[in-house]
Amino acid sequence: MEQFKKKFLEEANDLINSLEDSLLILEEKPTEKKIIEEVFRVMHSLKGGSSMFGFAKMDAFTHELETIYDMIRSGTLSVTREILDITLAAVDHLKVLLENGEEISETQQNNQNILLSRIHKIINKDAQEEITADTATSNVAAHKESEDKSKVYEKVPTYFIAIKPEEDIFRNGTNPMLLIDELHTLGHCKAFVKTSRLPSFEQLDPEKAFFYWEVFLATDKSIDEIKDVFIFVEDVCNVTISRIADDNLLAKTVFIRELDNFIEPVKETGQSELEAFVAKLKYNEPSLQEEGLSFRADEAAPMKRLSINNIRVSSEKLDDLMNLVSELVTVQASLSLFADNQDNPELAAISESIEKISRQLRDNTFEICLIPIETIMIRFKRLVRDLSNELDKEIQFTTEGTETELDKSIIDGLSEPLMHIFRNAIDHGIEPAEDRLAKGKPRKGKIAFKSYYSGTNVYIQVKDDGRGIDVEKIRQKAIARGFISPEANLSYKELLNLVFLPGFSTAAKVSEVSGRGVGLDVVVKKINDIRGDVEIESQLGVGTTFTIKLPLTLSIIDGLLVKIDKTFFVLPLSSVDKCFEVQDDALVKSFNNKIVLDGKQVPFINLRKEFDIHDNKPILHQIIQVNHDDFKIGLSVDTVIGEYQAVLKPLGRMFKDLEIVSGATILGDGTIALVLDPARVINTFDRETLERREKLYRENHRKDIQLHAGY
């Protein structure tokens, strides 16, 4: 049972999430029949499951909720704000119940009671006598096996049962013989078949029932329990049960002997005849001991596997799989290296197929680990709803591209920073309705969530049409806090980016919602932890946009293996555009750090210089042209070795501040290659890029900058 319980909990979690989602839709379309049905169905499933797996509290709770939605469904009740509020609160409580099982604290129990009483109020208000809710529905316990099988049947009463099925009884899939069989399991039993209704063979319709039965049953079961046998056939079968003796007639040999003569197969036995017959034979002979009946289902039957389309796997197993694949890729790299050095064509062929297979395995494993962003969206929809209620703001929340898939571990790391961004947008971004109207904006604020693929990256955008960020305020605050000097001449972008500094918070007053002393710096840190980047764009009075750029996956990347002197580096293949070969002269004599590639001037970074490597300077350099934002930029290295699957390993604590390197990877021969993050390399070493982007930005936003940044 435990394993099913666990499965149920997982399932209940899903159900509750989908419930929350449906409820939020319901709020917008309170009359949508389909959604109401959906909500009811989820409640129903939750109730069914929870009672089945022994979650009595949850069962009782969902039972009441189900009642409400049943009433809404049937039209006795309509969806109101109050109901939705209670239901959502109830959903929260259900989550608590799921988490803690049946052991909940006193306050939580209190919560449950309060909620229950509010639910009752709703139910009773609108349908006075409708439901007599007995909360303790789960009386599964009333299921005790009669343990004393070897009971002496002498003392038990005898019943006479006449069973007359209607002709059409087969239509319901009922087999009346099974009823007779079942009676045999109740006690000492003797059945007689009656054939008087049987037509001649020519007229016999094999799809109809013609027999009926008379049964003598000696049992210690109550008459209700005997009736239970016929519970499914009440309306298609005429059953009469009468008690004909207080002791077991069937244990008396005289009775048995006489019975065969007494019962006629073609004639119904009359009640009075029977009574007379029983009276005559009663107390005539000592009874015989009867053997107890025992019936057991075959328990040793083998368990069978069924074919399933979807399976649930614990995320730990996936992580393990991922790690194993990483190991495999590393080992495979050693194998290829070894094979290359052996000059053995057979070995080379094997090594090549292994490389191919491990690549496929890697891609498949990645795919398994991808989950859609949708899975965390419900949380945010809920957050927006609750917060906007709490802060008395009207907000319309739209989502786009939530089917975009990301690695599980990235999604995990994403929800906290996103939460923060949303809080910010609702609390600081969107203005109260009156302010908005005064500014000539629509009454309802807008928060748009959008995610999309671009190359091997996923972009996530949260955009609000609120008040935007006042860079002048930021500047003053930064000066006050000592982050910048009053003379500092910062660009609009740089000013905006100040909000990501630790300990920077622009809100004038600390609010409960977002100003909890945790600044946007935490967002940046969390996103960086999953190798992502955050960008902020804002226009005063128009709104703010946060853009998060994320890698599709974390642990293995396709890279370009390059070498400078004796050190290996890996550049993510996703950002590599082209490779060029240039003379050393061209680099040395380059003007303004630009070099002509493909007939265009391209800025470049001489990595030898930046990394302080001076030995073994080659005559020919390789320039790797990488895409950075909308620009191309060259990185110079000594040699290009080739494509390489790099298993990313963290560098360890000592190097955690080394931004330009996103990790290390072990090559086939055991040497270590550093995996470079081109974006960071460029941002660190190339002031020009920053300046150029600035120029572009300035052109676009000239007006704002003049107004707010004092240009």
């Binding site: 499965k7 499933s45 069914g48 009922t174 099974l178 519970i231 499914f232 289902a297």
Partner: protein, 121 residues
Amino acid sequence: MEKTIVIVDDSESIREVVGFTLNNAGHKVLSAVDGQDALRFFNGEKIDLVVTDLHMPVMDGIELIREIRNKDDYKFVPILFLTTESQQAKKMEAKEAGATGWIVKPFVPEKLLAAISKVVR
């Protein structure tokens, strides 16, 4: 004796627990997530019993019962439906559609097997 039993429920946990119980009792179990899904099993193969939930998306239990009763090969197959104590009206509707019997949720495995032994053996 081994029976082929179709179980239809949109809840995976219910399917699993019912399936597990029946497997252990030596039966062959075919599971489906809704009525529509269940109908694919009625392709001429022998089916001894159907256990279905009533509330399901796409095609609910009542409709499934009607569909099965309309098939010449399967019109006498016993059909049990899962129900809760509170659903009297639904119960009648299901019986009228041609259901053989019902199993009241919540149930323990023994109760499930007991109900099944009432209609198929």
